[in-house]
Symmetry: C2
């Protein structure tokens, strides 16, 4: 059994490669700190990206939402004068409306996610990191911004100075998350190539989670979201620059120091190998860019083989 | 000023004709007893039909919902295994999602409706009969059915034996409804050609409403929803048969006896004139079938002229 920690697009791609190889043997623990409420509906962007990707219905054109999407709802929302900066597609909306109804009826996010996954034919287990609300706050020169306002509303244009995870002190990893990490069959933990600051850090910041990870006694492998001085997608590289950090896999590895035992980075970044090894990690070099389904599977395979060594 | 009492399609059509003539001088009090919750969203079918009709965006093909509708949401809802018997279109959904959010934030249905109407450019006032929940229960040989289950789910196929309005004893007409009915400028009250049993009766059954109407001292004009032994739309004629009543304007007039002072019915039903007059009502014969916008205006004009006499 393998546990993967994931945020949005990059994480979902590797999770998809792993799911193809492992089926039921994969548990994906997903960041929920970029969840928020929009038009009264609870939205879980990372969970949705992972679900849609594993279900094979992700919209590859937009990078979010459902394939074959239509926009009549949004069109009418604009007509009714309500906010449209967060674009909810008509198909995507089914997830949000059904999730809202289930949550309001008293079900937890873990149970709701399991049911949505079952309906979407997803075999791997997809677990929200917590059933308790955690909300990423982006510290910036313009003050604090809720994550989606920064990410979607402001298109990541505002320079960041740091992050906080509101509610994290009262949030708990779910029983399902604890069980997955303490399973006897657990062979490795993979940290997907997601944003370290706003996708993986919220998971790692859950009370008790780092000590859980420290006690697992299996390899903890991280895959770099940075290739040759740039992020494949999203604001990770831009954030590093704004935080005064080098945009390199070494910065990512340093960020995970003490937690990660193996680090997968692109062959293009071979120059950083010895510096990463000096952090106490074993390094595996590979072509880590995932262009298509084959790439996802290939990288997943390499990560699993690396973990076995 | 004119107050119209209305249910769904037929009522909305006459209200539309009246709105074209009266603008701000029209207040429509709308049945909310067919409201229900679906997929966790509060739905107000009659309010929506009236709003969409007055806004000129009603879907004339389906007879409900918004013109130019798309169905991606419903398609995905089916995929996710949730109930799809009540067809929520993508555009229509904007109303339900925004209404749900506003109601949950503590606004009343009257305030929410006013804001939706403002956004849709509706000049006439559209008032829900009450901000309190009332739910029509259909008594049938198969037991009690919630109204939408009877109306949409069972397509009115189950023979009815009677009706109840759950919650009516605790529901109150809103202040806006009371004010409209007690306004000094009030010239007439029109009961639109809506279903007497499930559209108009809930309004009339609100505690205190009949005595309010009795005290207005202006003509109360009803327009027959029955023409030549049939209902223009909906189950009114079928219900009459099942309740052992003649399908005729006389049955409608008898139903409103003691309340209505003037009765508008189709020239095709002239044979019932003296029987209706025997109920103490003045009769006006007209072509009451509303095929198009011109018909709506023409009938509205005749009703207003009739009320003045």
């Amino acid at each position: 059994m393998i546990v993967a920690l994931a945020g949005g697009v990059g994480g979902a791609k590797l999770a998809d490669g792993l799911a193809a190889l492992l089926g039921k043997g994969l548990t994906v623990i997903v960041n929920t700190a970029d969840d928020f409420e929009h038009l009264g509906l609870p939205i879980s962007p990372d969970l949705d990206t992972v679900m849609y990707t594993l279900a094979g219905i992700a919209n590859t054109e937009t990078g979010w939402g459902v394939a074959g999407e239509t926009w009549s709802f949004l069109d009418q929302v604009v007509r009714l004068g309500a906010p449209s900066w967060f674009r909810l597609g008509d198909r995507d909306l089914a997830t949000h409306v059904l999730r809202a109804a289930a949550l309001r009826s008293g079900q937890g996010l873990t149970a709701v996610t399991a049911e949505l996954c079952r309906r979407l034919g997803i075999i791997a287990r997809v677990l929200p990191m917590s059933d308790d609300p955690v909300r990423t706050i982006v510290h910036s020169a313009e003050g604090d911004l809720p994550f989606q306002e920064y990410f979607v509303g402001r298109k990541c244009e505002v320079p960041v100075t740091g992050f906080a995870f509101a509610g994290i002190e009262h949030a708990r990893p779910t029983d399902a998350v604890r069980d997955a990490l303490q399973a006897k069959e657990l062979e490795a933990i993979l940290i997907c190539p997601s944003n370290p600051f706003v996708s993986i850090d919220p998971i790692l910041s859950l009370p008790g989670l780092r000590s859980l990870l420290a006690g697992v006694g299996v390899p903890v492998i991280a895959v770099s979201p940075i290739i040759a001085g740039a992020a494949v997608k999203g604001p990770a590289a831009k954030m590093m620059r704004e935080l005064g950090l080098d945009v390199s896999p070494l910065t990512v590895a340093s960020h995970y120091r003490g937690l990660v035992t193996g680090f997968v980075m692109d062959a293009a970044d071979a120059a950083f190998s010895s510096a990463v090894e000096a952090l106490g990690m074993t390094v595996h070099l590979a072509d880590i860019l995932m262009r298509d389904a084959l790439d996802r599977r290939r990288l997943a395979e390499q990560c699993l083989a690396f973990a076995k060594r």
